[in-house]
Symmetry: C2
Subunit: 143 residues, 2 copies
DNA sequence: ATTATACTTGCAACTCAGTTGAATCTGCAT
DNA sequence: ATGCAGATTCAACTGAGTTGCAAGTATAAT
């Protein structure tokens, strides 16, 4: 998940004012190798500057509604966020029952499944989330 | 989701003591046409008898760990619970962005997708959740 | 029957992840 | 400079679930 996207342009395209904080949210997510919790995003931004958590939550929410981010519901209480720009297409996720870590999987299977599900559902559906769960490599080695 | 399952036997098979409350949880879920939130389960049991919410949460948690129930993470904060017995095999779900309702879909597509994903992941994975999202029929008609 | 034990349920207080509403600050247009 | 809209902050709140411990209940041992 390297950041190849032009974030200022992405924001401008949405008619959203480009602010330092909004860019910071996108940059943090663009640099992360996996989907992040709001709390993690907050801490990463705080390594650089002062921020209020409410602002970050509002930005995440706004971006998600605009389709700039995807919000993933996972086994834990906190949701995860990931970029939804053209360089970060939807993909399945793998979550470890043991440590809770969520990894991104290749997008390919999702596309095939999407085609398969979309038929029966007609045009009612606009999004598919696939979460596979099990025990990850690290956790398996430990036991 | 009619209840064809012998709940007392199901519990006994797990070495779990059969209590009125545990049966009530299974019966409520067995009678429901869709996955339910803990809050809903609580209210449905309360229509019949007095219960403490902690007890219900503990039962749901215990049953989920034992594999008697599946817990679904959805767009909203509260998770949903559904029976995981042989008459209620895993299946995809459809959630409406607008009203939040979650419907159960046919199990068939899930099985095919499972086969497809499990290959690349090896035997690390033991569960697949597919959540399709869009706008449901009712909500679409209203707008 | 009586006591001991383990398991189940209940209660109060708490945590965690967000949310709300109102106040303040900032950049831009007049 | 002044006004305004939008961005950010702050404090307080909500809702869903959790924790620790007390009380109740069933089963087993005496």
């Amino acid at each position: 998940m390297s950041d190849l996207c032009d974030f200022p342009r992405l924001l401008a395209g949405q008619g959203v004012k480009v602010t330092a904080l909004r860019l910071a949210v996108l940059e943090v997510l663009g640099a992360a190798p996996r989907a992040l919790r709001a709390q993690e995003i907050l801490e990463m931004i705080r390594a650089r500057r002062r921020v209020n958590k409410v602002t970050v939550y509002r930005i995440l929410d706004d971006f998600t509604r605009r389709g700039l981010l995807r919000r993933l519901a996972v086994e834990d209480r906190a949701s995860l966020y990931e970029l939804a720009c053209e360089h970060h297409p939807p993909h399945p996720h793998f979550q470890c029952h043991h440590c809770g870590q969520v990894q991104c999987l290749e997008p390919a299977p999702l596309e095939r499944m999407w085609a398969e599900l979309k038929g029966p559902l007609g045009n009612r559906a606009d999004r598919i989330d696939i979460r596979v769960a099990g025990v990850c490599h690290k956790c398996r080695e430990m036991s």
